[in-house]
């Protein structure tokens, strides 16, 4: 295969990107070994790689992962139920929507995670604080996307429903809801991502729970390779989570 043909292939840039990242990591390794980067500040990438197994086995990563996942699950469940519920309510009563939609949008742009000390006081230093933080952080996008989806239901579908003399509840379940489902899924996906970010963040901040706490603990023990490895692990988990939710969303989205 000639170089030109290779360059035309779709995977070539991706491969090159990967090679560059690996090369950058190798460069950092070399710079540390020759002493240009202080190894007490940045541990050797090879050391980080080697400490992965230790962190996974000794620090109970599977249990922590499971704990964070459970917190994310409860937060997602809460924000789906309340977010979609409030969204339906705002759509059903137009005046309510007119009155409060800007508030919800403002709430979405507010740094809600800063309320964590307040939640600590209310719910204690427990998983409840973390779940509630995730819930509050992810609520606004679910509400906004639900309202958006319901409001953009095609007129013709609603007219079909009316011509069949559907009752208001039938109209909701048979027409509005299915039509708004893709938008609602986008909202829940966004909410879930916000929830996960905040859950891991708050775990780190209050030194309690799953993966976030692990980073805090290793950093406080001054276990540098372990800290870096744990950070890499959390990033890996988050990235995997985004890829899975993205695939799921694409799979659920009806083909127009």
């Amino acid at each position: 295969m000639t170089a030109g043909a290779l360059a035309r292939r779709r995977s070539f840039p991706v491969l090159l990107g990967l090679v560059m990242v690996v090369a950058a990591i190798a460069l950092v390794e070399v710079l540390i070994r020759v002493g240009l980067i202080n190894r007490f500040i940045v541990p050797l990438p090879s050391q980080i790689g080697a400490s992965f197994e230790r962190v996974i086995v000794e620090e109970g990563i599977p249990e922590r992962f499971w704990l964070t996942l459970r917190e994310a699950f409860w937060a997602t469940l809460l924000l789906s139920v309340f977010g979609v519920g409030i969204g339906v309510l705002l759509h059903r009563f137009r005046i309510l929507r007119l009155a409060t939609e800007t508030w919800v949008a403002a709430f979405a742009s507010a740094p809600t995670v800063l309320m964590y000390p307040l939640f600590l006081v209310i719910f204690g230093r427990s998983a409840n604080t973390i779940i509630m933080m995730g819930f509050v952080a992810g609520l606004a996008p679910v509400i906004l996307k639900t309202v958006e989806g319901l409001a953009s239901t095609r007129r013709v579908l609603i007219d079909v429903g009316r011509s069949f003399k559907l009752t208001p509840s039938q109209l909701y379940w048979k027409i509005y809801f299915p039509a708004a489902l893709p938008s609602i899924f986008v909202g829940i996906k966004l909410g879930m991502i916000f929830a996960l970010i905040n859950i891991v963040g708050v775990e780190f901040l209050i030194n309690f729970g799953g993966l976030g706490q692990l980073i805090n603990e290793l950093a406080e023990r001054y276990d540098l390779p372990g800290t870096y490895a744990a950070i890499c692990f959390v990033i890996l988990v988050s990235v995997l989570f985004f890829i899975i939710t993205e695939r799921l969303e694409r799979w659920l989205r009806p083909v127009n």
Binding site: I95, L98, A106, V121, G201, F204, G212, A219, I231, V234
Partner: protein, 264 residues
């Protein structure tokens, strides 16, 4: 004229206060009354839900306190520097990635997936690199706002009208001229949107870092009021921070809308 054939309706008599406003006031009043009732009933710990008067007094005290403005200045400075560094880096990376399909395919998915990861977990590393002072908070602000700005600019680059780029090329504009005369003016809306998103996460990143380890800044004040269990002060700090950040967010998005109107 298009309007000439139209029927003109007599102007409807508008009530002095619209129903929406009435509802808004009613909702707010209900929330405040319920809050006050809970505070007075003692169902929850009194300090957790303090009376509105106590919170109001705490807000007033905070706003006349000189120290608060010093801490606010520290935080604003950290966020500002973080936004300048992260924003500039994001702009450059966004223009480079958005301008080249090859580079975009090679690197953009890393940004796309790293963007939504929780940035606060990098804080221990930032402390190691930049110390426990404001440096590590600036770094948190920087890495927080870099991703949304870079991604927004990269997407904006791809939406620039080809005609504009061809005009620039036909005038033999060099790279610097292309960036300043074509790319940046054409991308005003996505840049403003990126800055709006970036500013939001920079505020969060910096303040969270301050709550974790710091002896100055508004984040420090919040966690300090938690440590001393001064709930009215915590509420007042949260209210002020929320109002300020929502205000700044609205201001920046207005800026974006103004641009949209101008370019129409």
């Amino acid at each position: 004229m298009a309007e000439t054939g139209q029927l003109t309706h007599p102007a409807l008599a508008m009530p002095a206060v619209s129903r929406v406003t009435v509802l808004r006031v009613a909702i707010l009043a209900t929330i405040l009354v319920v809050w006050e009732a809970v505070a007075a009933s003692g169902l929850l710990f009194r300090d957790v839900v303090p009376s509105l008067w106590v919170i109001g007094r705490a807000v007033a005290n905070l706003l006349v306190e000189n120290d608060f403005y010093w801490h606010l200045g520290v935080t604003a400075g950290e966020i500002g520097i973080g936004l300048v560094i992260g924003g500039t880096a994001g702009l450059v990376v966004g223009i480079v990635l958005g301008g080249s399909r090859f580079l975009s395919r090679a690197f953009e998915h890393y940004l796309y997936y790293l963007g939504p990861t929780p940035k606060i977990i990098f804080f221990p590393v930032m402390i190691m690199w930049f110390g426990v002072g404001p440096g590590s908070k600036v770094a948190m602000g920087t890495i927080s706002c870099f991703f949304p700005i870079a991604l927004s600019v990269a997407a904006g680059m791809r939406q620039i009208d080809d005609v504009l780029i061809r005009v620039g090329r036909s005038f033999r504009a060099n790279t610097w001229q292309m960036v300043t005369k074509i790319y940046l003016p054409a991308m005003r809306a996505p840049i403003v949107n990126g800055v709006r998103l970036g500013l939001g996460v920079a505020i969060i990143g910096t303040l969270l870092a301050e709550t974790k380890l710091s002896n100055r800044g508004v984040g420090f004040l919040i966690i300090n009021s938690y440590s001393t269990f001064n709930m009215p002060r915590m509420y007042s700090l949260l209210i002020v921070v929320f109002v300020l950040s929502i205000g700044v967010n609205t201001l920046v998005s207005r800026l974006g809308n103004l641009d949209a109107v101008k370019t129409r």
